[in-house]
Amino acid sequence: MRGHLETMVLAVLERGQAHGYEVLQRFEEAGCGALKLKEGTLYPALYRLEESGLIKGAWESGGENRRGPRRRNYRLTAKGKRELARRRDSWRNFVAVVGRIVEA
């Protein structure tokens, strides 16, 4: 799941920048509820991706109107886009090969 979680994060960030909670909401919209993902495990994945330069985070500037603690928005970097494309290819290959065997 760990490797896939990172790919999933990259994929949802392709739709635009998002903070951690929003990333999870996008997962929910895509029907990830079935994966029973524990929400806290998202943040280490975000940090790993940020550390490897695939995404870039920045604190949101809400000014005085912001309610509650500040959030950190993440966006995909150029390197992240290339990595996402590579992982997508790899995933498609995996699904094609395993799918042929499992569904045979």
């Binding site: 951690g20 524990k38 929400e39 495990t41 280490p44 603690p69 500040r70 959030r71 950190r72």
Partner: protein
């Protein structure tokens, strides 16, 4: 919010990482819990139930902590490894309940003077041996100088520790003291400068002992041995280092007030 902060702190506090990184973790996890609970309240749950569910859905704290730790670069993890007996240092600066200022200063002076004597003694013996082999009779003056130096240092150390307590410097550095962060920074800076003098003093003396012209105190002065620039540079460096440490203490204290003071034990 307080309940969330405690839960976040339970997860993040044991992580070995730089302060900035840990603060990022803290703020993000806290923001997540707050927004999650708000969303659950909007869905119709009452606040206690929403808070409990937000915490539950975040996941097992041990698992999150391990994953957070794994996301920290190895070098940073190593640099931020905790010193196991840190409490020993705290105890050194703390005065026992009912302990007099005199006793407090005396115990620390005895310890520091002993440490200083242990450093000076081998060189003094070596110097003695050198004098004897050359048939010189300066052993006595050298020994007297060593005893004199240590005695003067002991007085300074004692007065320093005594005053440190009297002026509230030690208390100002204590985390529990409700003093502004800048004051704690300045207290640390002053304290470090004082201790640097204690460290540099014996080093200068050792240098004097081993100096060829060190037969009298006057011929081997501080400036004569090291040169004015080097001595000045050393002092400037020490002051700068103290200021940096003081500033770090200020930041550390601010963080402690915000997160470190939370009681995370059940």
């Amino acid at each position: 919010m307080e309940q969330f902060k405690v839960h976040v702190e339970r997860i993040v506090r044991p992580v070995q990482a730089a302060l900035a990184r840990k603060n990022k973790m803290r703020e993000e996890l806290l923001a997540h819990l707050v927004h999650k609970a708000e969303a659950l309240v909007d869905e119709g749950l009452d606040e206690p139930a929403a808070s409990a569910q937000a915490v539950e859905q975040l996941g097992d704290p041990d698992v999150i902590r391990k994953e957070l730790q794994a996301s920290v670069p190895a070098l940073e993890r190593l640099a931020c490894a905790r010193i196991p007996n840190w409490r020993f240092l705290d105890a050194y600066f703390e005065k026992d309940e009912g302990e007099s200022r005199f006793h407090f200063a005396l115990v620390r002076t005895a310890f520091e003077v002993s440490a200083m004597a242990v450093c000076v003694l081998p060189l003094l013996v070596a110097k003695w041996a050198g004098f004897m082999s050359r048939g010189q009779s300066s052993c006595l003056s050298c020994s007297l100088a060593a005893v004199g130096f240590i005695s003067v240092a002991a007085v300074f150390i004692f007065v320093g520790w005594y005053l440190t307590d009297m002026t509230g410097l030690r208390r100002a550095m204590s985390r529990e003291t409700a003093a502004p962060a800048w004051r704690k920074g300045v207290a640390t800076c002053v304290f470090l400068c004082f201790n640097f003098v204690l460290i540099i003093g014996p080093l200068l003396f050792l240098a004097w002992l081993t100096h060829p012209s060190g037969r009298t105190i006057l011929t081997a002065t501080f400036f004569g041995m090291f040169g004015l620039q080097l001595a000045g540079g050393t002092i400037v460096l020490l002051v700068l280092l103290s200021v940096v440490c003081g500033f770090a203490m200020k930041i550390e204290h601010e963080q402690w007030v915000k997160w470190g003071s939370l009681k995370i034990d059940d």
